[in-house]
Symmetry: C2
Subunit: 405 residues, 2 copies
């Protein structure tokens, strides 16, 4: 069961002018399920992408990088679930190329103007012929349909919209994501797509994306496993009727980026809320650090600890496990005698030990909630970082022991 997360209200997901969505049942892995999504972009759209740093990156990730670098202007994205096309070597790349070529031919564009994405099982050949056969069968779709078509072990589709007024022009930002396991993005999440009808020069769009990623998708973890297929794509169609944004430091750019950030943060949190087997959603805030990097290091040590995650599942304030994780995070000159540990507003530890006013029943009360903030104050600088995660339950094991079988 996802934690305080429900299916998005279809009527609140804003269409983005210049983005045409279509979904189909291609039968990649299962019959009778929509497993193929095509996103067509109006001419003149700009597109930016960040991708997994996994060395075993999937074939579609290789092609995405190539096609973005080619600079011909991206006009379509094609996404399949059921098979990751990762660990598939040279034939995997050929399959991704064939998929792009088939869609390009239909749309009358070049294959390099198509970005391919795959998600699902690793190390199995992509059934490319079924995907190509599915392409012409696609039906018009809205963002909720699209978000549903890219789900794998997700229990709810994840899509978010924001509207922002820039120089009197209403601009829409709508995004979707998928992923609830193998989630510890390093550059991006498993699959995330955000589109806007704002007009943005490509270099500015890429910079916006990098900054947004650092504070959204790169701050979430379910199990610490960085996927082979992580991709986060930002698209700007320019259909809203505004002047092009060409300067990252302009007020227009910052306004737009704020809206994109809100969408991306909510999507990133949604992945942890729907983390495999999740019963609790935890925000880990580390503040007062020398730099953001050490704050993130400590936050991820906590968020990755199976002992911390099982204690939260049990609502057991076995909070020494938090201190242990802080201690082994690898911040070498960390002074444990000056830091403080809070659970929501309850001060748990200070001066290297349990705070004298801390009462077990206060810890217990917070642990029983479903949204919990773990806060570590380092008192040695101004930097901070927030990371989102979920607990480990029996169902995490069940889902991952059963998946694929």
């Amino acid at each position: 069961m996802p934690v305080n997360l429900s299916v998005p209200d279809r009527s609140r997901l804003l269409p983005v002018a210049g983005v045409t969505l279509g979904v189909a049942e291609a039968g990649v892995r299962y019959a009778n399920r929509r497993d193929l999504l095509v996103m067509e972009l109006a001419p003149g759209s700009t597109v930016a992408g960040v991708f997994t740093q996994n060395r075993f990156c999937a074939a579609p990730v290789v092609l995405c990088r190539e096609h973005l670098a080619a600079g011909k202007g991206i006009r379509a994205l094609v996404v399949n679930t059921g098979n990751a096309n990762a660990g598939t070597g040279a034939s995997g790349r050929e399959h991704a190329r064939l998929t792009c070529a088939a869609l390009a031919e239909e749309l009358g564009i070049a294959p390099e103007q198509v970005l391919p994405f795959s998600t699902g099982v690793i190390l199995e050949p992509l059934p490319v012929e079924r995907i190509i056969a599915g392409l012409p069968r696609r039906q018009p779709a809205d963002w909720l349909d699209a978000a549903m078509a890219i789900m794998t072990t997700d229990t709810v589709p994840k899509a978010v919209s924001r509207q922002v007024v820039i120089n009197g022009v209403k601009v829409s930002v709508t995004g979707m994501t998928k992923g609830s396991g193998m989630i510890h993005p390093n550059m991006a999440t498993m699959l995330g797509f955000v589109a806007t009808d704002a007009k943005v020069a490509q270099p500015v769009l890429q910079q916006m994306l990098a900054e947004v990623t650092e504070h959204s998708f790169n701050c979430v973890t379910v199990d610490g496993d960085t996927s082979t297929n992580d991709s986060f794509i930002l698209m700007a169609t320019g259909q809203a009727g505004m002047a092009e944004i060409t300067d990252m430091d302009s007020g227009e750019a910052r306004l737009l980026q704020a809206a994109i950030m809100e969408v991306a943060v909510e999507l990133a949190q949604a992945m942890a809320r729907d983390g495999e087997g999740a019963t609790k959603f935890m925000s880990v805030v580390v503040e007062g650090g020398h730099n953001r990097s050490e704050c993130k290091q400590i936050a991820f040590a906590i968020a990755h600890s199976p002992l911390v995650k099982t204690a939260f599942f049990a609502s057991d304030p076995n909070l020494g496990r938090l201190l242990a994780a802080i201690g082994y995070a690898g911040v070498e000159d960390l002074d444990t005698s000056t830091l403080e540990l809070y659970l929501n507003e309850v001060l748990v530890a200070a001066q290297g030990g349990r705070h004298p006013d801390y009462r077990e029943e206060d810890g217990q009360r917070v642990m029983k909630e479903s949204d919990i903030t773990i806060r570590v104050c380092l008192h040695r600088g101004e930097a901070r970082a927030t990371v989102w995660t979920c607990d480990y339950s029996y169902d995490y094991v069940k889902i991952n022991a059963d998946y694929r079988s």
Copy 2:
């Protein structure tokens, strides 16, 4: 259930001349259980130790480092279970000091000649008065009794002996360890003690210990959580009647070290075999690397992946998860097209994808075994590393959601 590991045969655990063992029921956390161990060492013994690098290291670890540095000659070790005396600040250190002082007074030695060890729950005050009251109540014990007295979530005691003949003198090496959760030692395991009646100069003993640790306790992981209390102690009583070993490069030193290594490796493996909830024991071998460090990095990425560990629990050859872990291990220039992945003798992947001869039923057959070797051949150098771990089962979650409650 531990994986292919049973209670050691009491008659095969060799006493070590110069080591006197005693255990007591101190009631640290539970009544009617032996939770206190004292090891007395003959005058002239040398002792070496390595300790956790966790910044939240426990009070007894702080004292161990101080007392070893004092150089007065260690004459006794005292170990309690039920409470880790970690995250206990200044009062925790005072409690550890009081424990040492009480034992020192009884034995007529200096407090700095005592090393204290604690294991159990973190962030709770040590009931030092119960420990001190328990000391005089201790009963003579052998190594099996001692190994049982230091257990926490362990399901079987872990102790191993070897005998080696050095220059015609029979030398005994006996060791014990405890630990089945919060196991990802960084310098040492939760608690490990190895004693020999060989005579070894202290600097040589320390060097032996460092080398042994790197290839034994630093190569095991259950859950990736580095404990606050990790300590591994090597003791040499000199009672066997041999000349002192003063040179690490001598044949005598290498003979003795080989025996100590065998004991330490078997103990380290025993911790993974008895890992919390374990149903499978996995050896992860990475070979053909530029250096040992990158081999270990990849081996630990595999051994820590919850997705890999749950797949092994399910006996599901979902082996793409292994490729993903290799890919995100952080070896930046890794060429995934030249490496090979084996499961026991089955070649699974090569040239960046599934090997053409690989058959699902071969993977399935290996996955059903209880002792499995995952082998990655990097083909870019001569270095290798081996890491031992276990799978993740429902019982891992159960044990860690229930522990403490």
